[in-house]
């Protein structure tokens, strides 16, 4: 699979079919193309004469924490933020004599995720031990699936352009190599004061799905979009909340560069990526760093690098004098995991003990890509609107609730939700669930606007009032502030005539042919009506009266 060209080495851009659209960068709230320290601007401007093109290759290893009540092999609870070592069973602390017992929910979650990502689910998968010594791994090994994982050979499709460059066909696919079940390790906290490391095993043993993506991506934005799409899929399935900030989704990126046509270069692994924004930044920085290093005649070491958020660069974490030897061996305490489909289901089997792939496939919820298309069809909104609706947690539900209670057109509702409502939320850094305006309030407001009871500017005013959340409904606010549109033609005509009478010079100017003055008269008339008149109507009346 030919990797797209990275023609001009510039931070924050990937040149595929053309420039990476700015709006895509804004989608991740990135503050414009990042200036990365340590990068000479000279290298970034033009391809030097004789310089070859570079292609970057990015692969991802994503660890997803499964959303379940108990851990993968033990019955202790899975939850965020609990007193240290309170969610630890004897097995998690690897006390002798304890054995792993597989959690059914985790198996179902892995199968669901595999099916959603178009994987082949292995009917027989095996568990192995991966040995390494570390303080937060009490057993000295991690139970994982190295030989035969639970799902293999899938794909994830994500969209490239947004906004002006959107088109349903502008999508890219990344292959999923495998999905495997494995244990999470505990947490180690470094206490600098007393020069100690404190170990908390609450997280040890929690079920993880490791999603391995093949190196089909070529820049930070692509990787970020793919991860974002995976997040949406996982949330739609309910298999994980996929919250990077809470550590439920951890991404390691493998980055390498090479000249097109030549074999792949040496890869480095980038860790410590806490958010999607940093993921994109880190990958782009690493690509730049490698290109610069190679162009200066240096070599890339196969090492692990951590991303330093404050400096915006990657730093070497440890020197690997030879890779870790994990001494994989089959887990002797767990027989093979057998999954069934409706055909191969044994007769009279205990339903609790059997996982039926077909049953799970039938019960898969609607995936984000399908939802987006359905929204466009159902409401007649633009694809990028449905994209934006799904991007924000809870926004889709909000929109649907508003639509239920108002007769206004979907396009108008979308406009209000995506610009005004979302704008207010972002300004105050609130989530949809924290909005002071309820869907019914907004629905009422939009109905008033639709019925032409109030004008657009008045509606904005009412919205501002609603945001203060003083418990008043839009109708009440309109009445109190006397924002209703004046509809009576005679009243309007009276006001307009009065304005004309008060400004004879302007009237003369218009009659002489100066039409710009009409705007001034319109403005005066609007002020006279205290903003309660439809500007269009005022203009019509004035023009009639001026003839």
């Amino acid at each position: 699979m030919a990797a797209p060209m990275l023609q001009w080495a510039r931070a924050g851009r990937c040149w595929l079919l053309g420039p990476c659209p700015r709006r895509m960068i804004l989608l991740f709230a990135e503050p414009g193309p990042g200036r990365v320290r340590g990068q000479s601007s000279a290298a970034a401007q033009e391809p030097r004469p004789g310089a070859q093109e570079w292609a970057a290759v990015v692969g991802l290893e994503i660890h997803v924490q499964i959303s379940s009540n108990s851990k993968l092999f033990s019955g202790s609870q899975v939850t965020f933020l609990a007193p240290p070592n309170s969610l630890v069973s004897f097995f998690d602390a690897s006390l002798p004599g304890t054995l792993p017992v597989l959690n059914r929910r985790c198996v179902e979650a892995a199968v669901m995720t595999g099916l959603a990502l178009n994987c082949t689910v292995n009917k027989k998968s095996l568990f192995d031990r991966k040995h390494y010594f570390y303080a937060d791994l009490p057993a000295g090994y991690q139970i994982t699936q190295q030989r035969r994982p639970i799902a293999i050979n899938g794909s994830l499709t994500y969209s490239l352009g947004v906004g002006a460059l959107w088109s349903p066909s502008a999508t890219k696919t990344v292959r999923i190599k495998q999905i495997q079940l494995e244990q999470d390790s505990g947490k180690s906290l470094h206490d600098d004061m007393r020069s100690q490391t404190l170990i908390d095993l609450n997280r040890a043993g929690v079920g993880l799905m490791e999603v391995v993506m093949e190196p089909d991506m070529s820049c930070g934005d692509e990787a970020a979009t793919a991860v974002k799409e995976l997040q949406l899929i996982l949330r739609a399935l309910g298999t994980s909340q996929a919250n990077m900030a809470e550590g439920q989704l951890r991404v390691d990126a493998n980055v390498s560069v090479h000249h097109p046509g030549e074999p792949l270069g040496v890869r480095t692994e980038v860790k410590n990526l806490n958010s999607i924004r940093f993921l994109a930044k880190a990958i782009d920085y690493e690509i730049q760093r490698q290109i610069k290093e190679l162009e200066n005649g240096g070599k890339i070491l196969n090492e692990t690098r951590a991303f330093d958020e404050k400096l915006g660069c990657t730093v070497s974490m440890r020197d690997k004098e030879g890779k870790q030897d994990y001494r994989f061996m089959p887990e002797p305490n767990l027989p093979p995991l057998i999954l069934y489909d409706t055909e191969s289901l044994p007769m009279g089997a205990d339903p609790q003990q059997v996982v039926n792939i077909d049953r799970i496939r039938e019960s898969l919820p609607e995936l984000p890509s399908v939802t987006r298309e359905r929204l466009v069809e159902q409401y007649g909104i633009l694809p990028e609107h449905s994209f934006a609706l799904l991007n924000e947690d809870g926004l889709l539900e909000f929109f649907q609730n508003v639509m239920k209670e108002t007769r206004a057109e979907p396009k108008k509702v979308i406009g209000w939700i995506l610009s005004t409502f979302l704008g207010y939320l972002k300004q105050r850094n609130l989530a949809v669930s924290e909005s002071p305006v309820s869907p019914s309030s907004l629905a009422e407001l939009l109905s008033l606007l639709d019925d032409k009871v109030i004008s657009q500017p008045a509606a904005q005013q009412v919205f501002e009032e609603l945001w203060q959340n003083q418990g008043k409904s839009p109708g009440q606010i309109v009445q109190e502030k006397k924002l209703e549109l004046l509809h009576q033609q005679e009243e309007l005509e009276e006001i307009c005539q009065a304005v004309l009478d008060q400004h004879p010079q302007e009237v003369m100017a218009v009659k002489k042919g100066n039409h710009k003055v009409v705007n001034k008269l319109i403005g005066l008339a609007r002020r006279a009506t205290l903003g309660r008149a439809d500007p269009v109507k005022i203009k019509q009346i004035l023009e009639k009266q001026l003839q």
Partner: protein, 186 residues
């Protein structure tokens, strides 16, 4: 006494393949460790295979010591290793062509699936009793030398006595603890 006829039966029953089992034993190799997925990273170079006669090279001894945290300590320990390897080499006498390996005696058992309920946990005091040092319900692992302390303790559990001075700490490359976890509650 009854085993003598058995032995003679076994000896005469040896096929041409197995007659040369001693030669096979001498040519035994250590299985390569598998490394996981990836693009063209450098694959781990396995330690040099042992020469015929099952002599284990010094580099291999060092590699094993690092991996498994054992200390062969002296020539006698290495000799014992050689004997153990030779003994295990007898397995090669069996012709396993076309036979799938059995990884577990449980392979025909059903893997029991547990319902997703919380039934364990909440035993901090019991767990902390096992630790020499604790700080506010956390286990303590002193960094650097302390890490070595954990490793030493683990090795002791496994049954090998480790003398701190013989333990080659410098060769172990472990991730720096302070950079391990970005998402940590303060």
């Amino acid at each position: 006494m009854w085993c003598r006829p058995l032995q003679s039966v076994l000896r005469t029953g040896l096929t041409p393949v197995t007659r040369s089992w001693k030669a096979k034993v001498r040519a035994c190799r250590f299985a390569k460790s598998e490394s996981v997925k990836g693009q063209s990273g450098e694959l781990p170079t396995p330690p040099p295979a042992s020469r015929p006669g099952c002599r284990v090279s010094a580099e291999l001894i060092e590699h094993l010591e690092r991996l498994a945290l054992v200390d062969f300590r002296n020539q006698e320990g290495v000799e014992r290793l050689h004997k153990a390897v030779e003994f295990a080499g007898q397995l090669r006498a069996v012709d396993t062509d076309g036979v799938a390996p059995m990884e577990s005696v449980l392979e025909d058992r059903c893997l029991y699936l547990r319902t997703d309920n919380v039934v364990e946990g909440n035993c901090v005091e019991d767990l902390l009793q096992n630790s020499q040092q604790t700080v506010e319900d956390y286990f303590v692992a002193p960094p650097g030398a302390g890490m070595r302390g954990i490793l030493l303790r683990h090795a002791e559990e496994v049954g090998f006595s480790v003398d701190g001075f013989n333990f080659s700490w410098g060769n172990i490359s472990l991730p720096k603890l302070s950079e391990q976890d970005p998402v940590t509650p303060s």
